[in-house]
Subunit: 199 residues, 4 copies
Amino acid sequence: MTAAPTPAKRNPTRERLIEAAFAVVAREGLEAASVKTIAAEAGITPGLMHYHFPTKDALLEAALRRSLEAYRERVRSRRAVTPPGGQLAAFFADARSGVEADADFFRVRLAFAAQALTHPGLAAVLRDLNAAATEETALTFAAAAGRSTPNDRDQALAATLKAAFDGVMLAWLNDPAFPLDAAGAILEDAAQRWLAPLP
Amino acid sequence: MTAAPTPAKRNPTRERLIEAAFAVVAREGLEAASVKTIAAEAGITPGLMHYHFPTKDALLEAALRRSLEAYRERVRSRRAVTPPGGQLAAFFADARSGVEADADFFRVRLAFAAQALTHPGLAAVLRDLNAAATEETALTFAAAAGRSTPNDRDQALAATLKAAFDGVMLAWLNDPAFPLDAAGAILEDAAQRWLAPLP
Amino acid sequence: MTAAPTPAKRNPTRERLIEAAFAVVAREGLEAASVKTIAAEAGITPGLMHYHFPTKDALLEAALRRSLEAYRERVRSRRAVTPPGGQLAAFFADARSGVEADADFFRVRLAFAAQALTHPGLAAVLRDLNAAATEETALTFAAAAGRSTPNDRDQALAATLKAAFDGVMLAWLNDPAFPLDAAGAILEDAAQRWLAPLP
Amino acid sequence: MTAAPTPAKRNPTRERLIEAAFAVVAREGLEAASVKTIAAEAGITPGLMHYHFPTKDALLEAALRRSLEAYRERVRSRRAVTPPGGQLAAFFADARSGVEADADFFRVRLAFAAQALTHPGLAAVLRDLNAAATEETALTFAAAAGRSTPNDRDQALAATLKAAFDGVMLAWLNDPAFPLDAAGAILEDAAQRWLAPLP
DNA sequence: AATGAATGAGTATTCATTCAT
DNA sequence: TATGAATGAATACTCATTCAT
């Protein structure tokens, strides 16, 4: 009895294209992500891209979707292994370590976010996946506050902190001198205060 | 004795080009900001652009610089008219109202921020002007805390809040359902707590 | 003893391809008749086309040949059932009704006629099959004039009327307001006068 | 006092493009009329074509329009110089000589007629210009019959003969052995009979 | 007999830039 | 200052064909 092959094994060229698109956008930006460049990165012919994807934009969207899903998966798996009580600290440690580890991911997301301002289709993808990631984060905060399901405050906090971290990433990507540690501390304070308001 | 003419009067075509570049990027994004489109917006011929600017990128950089200077000027003039004691509240009211009022400015900045990831020249411009804007904001926070010059904590807070607001902008531009009011409250809390830590 | 299978039964895929090519050319024109489109119409894979035909042009030529043979067959069978004396009237009634009934056939022929101007191979096919169809028509005219074999005048009349009807088709296909009835009457007059010149 | 420059002198590149498009379509067919080929024929760069015409189709349409206008002008000027009474004979002599002289023009028209079956825009152009040419021919027939303005029968005859001649052209272009003289005689008979029906 | 993947040449179009006037 | 014409390289995408399976 043979196990079902993974998607990557079932269609290796398609996977290589998605990874190549991600790599090129992360390294050189969306502007440089021509079909020719992506195909070269994937080691294939430009024409073949259009066999696997109807359009260059379809490939880029697939790459964005894939990278955001991977990000969400990382957040989820961290939550699963973190003991109750340390959730909030773990989130921040995580986010801050991710700042350095996942620079490529944020770079790609920034590129798409800028593009999305004028591409409604892309904007919808970003919106959907941001919502999913925010929901994931809200669960973390709810758990930190001892709730099993997030309430409105948890949702708002999750959306705000996610957006704030994105902004911090943007600033840090542009200027490595950005005070990352202080930013983490400030935002962590904000989260704690919001979750447990003073009497 | 004749007064020095304003820059706009001294070289009206150059000014029109800068304004047109800003308008096109704000409305249609960097991708659509071709020389042809910008020239049409300015009411001139594409060829003439190269008389006033050596390259298209030089024009775009000028437009970015101009828009950031305008932003900085707005922040500065607000600080001048705000009575001491209300500085912090004013900053937030201002930033939050600006969220809606200055959407074009943020749109343009986001477009350039994405571009800057792979354009060192642009990145330098953004870095310089971001630093200036942060400095301006730090002065506001210092004043709110009764200091005449900002200390390190003021600087870090200014950098963080500026970045956080940028991220909130990004999220809100992508999804109008973003909880803008809650984000403002959370970040204001963070600022107050940071400026006046509990004993 | 088994009867010989019809061509269509002997090689159904090949037949489907020929019919699909005809359908696509009739509906969307030669320009749109790509291998991909024809294969989709036939419900097969583009690659398979090259198993049944060496090139795309060979398939198109087969489709043209097939459609002209079908047309010739229709003319022949009409002649067989038309009583002597009514041949001429039948030919015109037939041609004029064919104008509306066989629009697809004419559409395809027009497309190929244009193509044939620069494709000697196609031109030869059209020449051969036009000659056969003209011969068929000449027999009709000879019969109408009481001759068992066509003479030169019958041949010339057949060639001319066939060409004239083609031109009328072309005009009518381009502009449905074309006076089809008057054209039929004019050409019928011409035929009668030519077959039975005044003394 | 300088005379206004002719259009050709005022914009020579545009004119060269129109002539080159016509020449390429006449010589090699619409299929081969790529921007690259046309530009090479005109001695310019492909990119420049798009400076003078928004689209390849716009250029081809201009070429078609120009050639049909030239044809109409030829018909008109013949009518002007032909003495009354000889109009009909002149028309046929003319048409038959045109068969050989204007082969390029007919070739181009056939190519466009085939294309027009699936291009509504082109079809409209052909319709308009065919109507104008038919109107011109109807004037010739009316004059031959001693009328100053064409009646319905003149119109129908003009439309029919024009279409019939187009069909004859098509046949003759495909097969030089086509009996052109007989066709001319047959159609001339038809015209005379239609214009002056027997009592 | 049939598929799906791959290629390489070809398509129209856009672009920043140059330059003579 | 300003224009209009011109270039050459780049763009996404299509196509007929090939081939291993």
